[in-house]
Symmetry: D2
Subunit: 344 residues, 4 copies
């Protein structure tokens, strides 16, 4: 079975394992107060051109989202996001469990617009009953989105402008950031995110690390006492240096980008093969996740050799599915898939 169902099916890039072996018996202080975390944070600050930002390393993405929102919001405040946003759908209510409402807006291709954010703000702040409603306080975006699409620099800038005008905070979930940064036509780089976001994270789990996400806390107001909340919401790893070592390996010489590019290229080959077969697509993705709408009969045949994710039923005989590539995807597996696809 060749697994294209998700982008977290293998361990880590070999360089990361090597580093873990080399440093295994070196004694370190715990909870992220070690030299590796310091070094990795330095690399990331430099990539984002944010010399003053705090960088924290956490184990997983839901953890990062939960800790940031718990730290940023007062009890009566909510987070604005796409209805397809990870925090709205696939975190088992983790955000609500911290006491906050998710104000979900209808997505287009996984994205929301500046105008939607503005309208949501206006509906809540200007209404005569505003004190009876949740107060929107933060905008959550995913880059790339859960549908594989990307915000353009212009789209993100427009949302950022609404945030500036209204006082909303801006936070970006970058679980698959590497695949977005290296996508064709992408014009939203780390310095641009650093300039606009109050906080964002750069995902490692899906992009070469064994596990781990790098959270960039840019807004000083969010930095205060953040480590307390990190501990309370179980976001601190005892052997924190394991995260520092991994992000050092990913960012010391651009390995993160190289892995991102590889996955995107593998995805484009799959996309092109699917297009060639005439399938339409559920979303307009230029990253490592591709969402073709396929006849169920074709899917059944492919399922004998390939794992994919069922995304959404379309009609009685068609289903939208997800094929994922990753840093670990092998050329020969893509070759085999394309050959079998062509033969359908």
């Amino acid at each position: 079975m060749i697994r294209f169902n998700c982008d977290y099916s293998e361990g880590a890039h070999p360089r990361i394992l090597e580093r873990l072996i080399e440093t295994n018996m070196i004694q370190n202080p715990g909870y992220g107060e070690d030299l590796y975390c310091e070094k990795a944070a330095g690399y990331i600050r430099k990539e984002c051109r944010l010399p003053e930002a705090d960088v924290h390393f956490l184990v997983g993405g839901t953890q990062v989202n939960l800790v940031v929102l718990a730290a940023a919001l007062r009890p009566h405040q909510g987070v604005v996001c796409a209805d397809s946003g990870h925090i709205n759908v696939h975190e088992s209510g983790a955000i609500e469990a911290t006491g906050h409402k998710v104000l979900a807006l209808a997505n287009t291709d996984g994205k929301i617009t500046a105008a939607q954010v503005r309208a949501c703000y206006d509906a809540h702040y200007n209404d005569e009953t505003h004190e009876h409603m949740v107060q929107p306080a933060l905008v959550y975006l995913s880059q790339p989105t859960e549908s594989g699409s990307l915000y353009t620099l212009a789209e993100m800038d427009a949302i950022h402008q609404v945030c500036l005008d209204t006082g909303l905070l801006l936070y970006v979930d970058g679980a698959r950031m590497g695949y977005g940064l290296m996508a064709e036509n992408n014009d939203l780089d780390l310095p641009a995110l650093g300039r606009m976001c109050d906080a964002f994270y750069i995902g490692g789990t899906k992009v070469g690390a064994l596990f781990g996400e790098a959270l960039v806390l840019n807004n000083p107001a969010l930095q205060k006492d953040f480590r307390y909340i990190l501990k309370q919401r179980v976001g601190r790893l005892a052997k924190g240096w394991l995260l520092g070592i991994q992000f050092t390996a990913l960012f010391e010489d651009g390995l993160y980008y190289k892995l991102g590019r590889h996955a995107d290229e593998m995805a484009y080959r799959i996309r092109d093969g699917l297009l060639k077969k005439g399938y339409s697509f559920f979303s307009n993705s230029s990253t490592n996740q591709q969402f073709p709408i396929m006849p169920n009969s074709d899917l059944e045949k492919l399922a004998e050799k390939y794992a994919y994710s069922v995304w959404a039923p379309i009609d009685e005989s068609h289903t939208a599915v997800r094929f994922c590539t990753s840093w670990a995807t092998k050329e020969e597996d893509v070759d085999a898939f394309l050959k079998d696809l062509e033969a359908l």
Copy 2:
């Protein structure tokens, strides 16, 4: 200024004040363990034909909703409701503050259908990622709805059947129950609610009481330790007998229904006057709230003498507004309004 903007602008029906005066210096045990509460609970059990139900008296509706949901749901469970539902819009995130997601479905005239509830259940329980999503566990309906409309017996029965099939609990918010029970064409009475609901409440604040809501807890599983949660979520009034006295007055001889009928009749006169002027309506209401769509120019004129609520902007020159009647609405105020309306 004559206030039609809401249905809680006056104190209480005179009988209630009289009772409070008569009993003022009688010493009672606190926290609802008095004879008045016992008596009132008996009346309500009888009206609902639920001899085994627990009846609790609380001060306000948001309180009831919050306590019931906090008691009924496990941490990973959510509540299904109309997107126009009071818990989804106008409780400042009170439900999320107890840790639970509100799963909002698109309303039609303030209502949701059995098919929508079933589809929501299926989408969450049958999906391969269901453990990454909130688990729907309870259906929240309002009767009458926030738009003044009513579930028919058949509609409610269909939703109840979905609940039986899936294990979802059924809870009805009856903040304006009296106005629903006595509405023209209503076929959903208290025994029917008692038969179908795991819990529901009969609103007093808006229907003749100074304050107070009567919660009927029908499902034994919800009864266990409920008074602990009532205390924790500040739903217990120290001088609990104040609530028992009021509900005794409302239910000992049908005053509650009489007050409900009065408000509906006043509302129908207003509705008929609005129809006669040719206005269309934002919702199809047969209860004490009426939602005409009116030219802003007309509204401005009326605003000199009458208070109403702005509901929703329709276009540049029209707005949907709310006119409310209540148990306290005076015939002469309605007469004056109709005259001024006609003269517009």
Copy 3:
């Protein structure tokens, strides 16, 4: 049965009922935005010499505690209080249900000292593992305490000084404030509390009102968006003017103090009677609650005519109990009690 078991066994002072009757059919805007609340707030600001304070009226004391703490604390912060504090014992975990730890210090006569507060602060802030512990952020005191004792001006000043030195907020629960203000030897008046506290409340439920507490929010940082949190935590009464009317009646000409004095005097008569019989006391109370330690045999005899609260078992044959007086306590009931006591 004559009830001395608590101080909320009767309705309200007659003047309050009269006002409710007089104003019953006057239409008011809801949720505390009416003229009565404005007027009552003015009286209270004046009594406290706090012209800039926000004053909010809530139904009950647990509600006030919960809303203030939810509004004042960030997620990782806790509240320091006596282990006998109401929030630590008798609110069914209401504070923890908002996510916050109660850091309970050993009480002496219901009180804690400035030195204890300072030591608690130091233990949490200076420890090398402080980020793994809850951060103390607010001091909760009750005046009078749950044991009927009173902080002196000097004691409160010392605690206030620790708060100034450390940045801790100071909040006083005044459920029985009236009985404290008028107690013999009390030197802590409302202006003193106003000068020292970030927030405190003046209790009505136990001091003449049907229900209601007046929260004084003195610290501007606590005022921001407070009404949102009030709504979310079900602290807003739809017919808010009912609270405004009551506090107007209590504070327009000093009725509140008069009622407080009456209860204290009744309590002193009971105390003196108990002393004369040679009983010792569980706590040193100069307010309306008295806690004698009595032989169980005496208690059984008294129980035939008088209700009291069991406070704590002392040994096999003695129990500490509570006798409460209130604004409503009748001289003749105290006379009868003293006579029966003497005859034991």
Copy 4:
């Protein structure tokens, strides 16, 4: 610098790294639904003689505590534990952040007794105001305790008996379980824990793993929907097989016990050296943590070469400190320490 300050200063036992390398590019399903987790769960069920138990693998100990308590408790329920318990002190209020009160009892040597638990239960359940108090529902113990001490089989049995009598659940935090199981005089083995506990966890992070804890859920009532809550409280690792691989390595042939024994032996050598110098001890520990009370002057000298944790100030010139050994402690480091200690 040789670190004796904690037991999580190194990576993992070499066998674990080897396994991670061998399996690195094998594709696995995510979130713990892989064959390694299944295999490891089987080993653990067998060790505990619990063929029907659910076994879940989580990243860290605070995570396990939080998820178990969030799943086990209803909103009004609290957890009984020693005041020195990890959940009461060093989790930044993580349990309270799930809404539950920690009912802390005075510890003796890190432990509480069956009689204390029973008294706590009685004080809360039998009091006339019990519905105004938190309801104790679960007993949390640590084995070994935070002070390095151990519950004997008889002590644990007595607590278990109270749990059976009252309906309290029993949960054991085994962050350092391996060091307890192999301690001299220990008579509490995994089958005994399996027989008595509703849930407990076997710590890996501190006993040879890179990270990871194995939670044994024994009570079927706790198993229902547990994976939802695991996801919501961020307890599920995307690449869950990383945990399965580690626990397979630890339990396939008893490596876990061997590592536990090594650390204990190293700790006994340190203890004996400290005893020889005549120091007294802050607690009676027979596991890998030793807590001598030492002159500050001696500590300063040792601090030049050795890291230890400051535990508690004793007087002006003495401090209780913690020396930890672990699976990774080198004989030669202990030799060096003992030599330097002797030379003080």
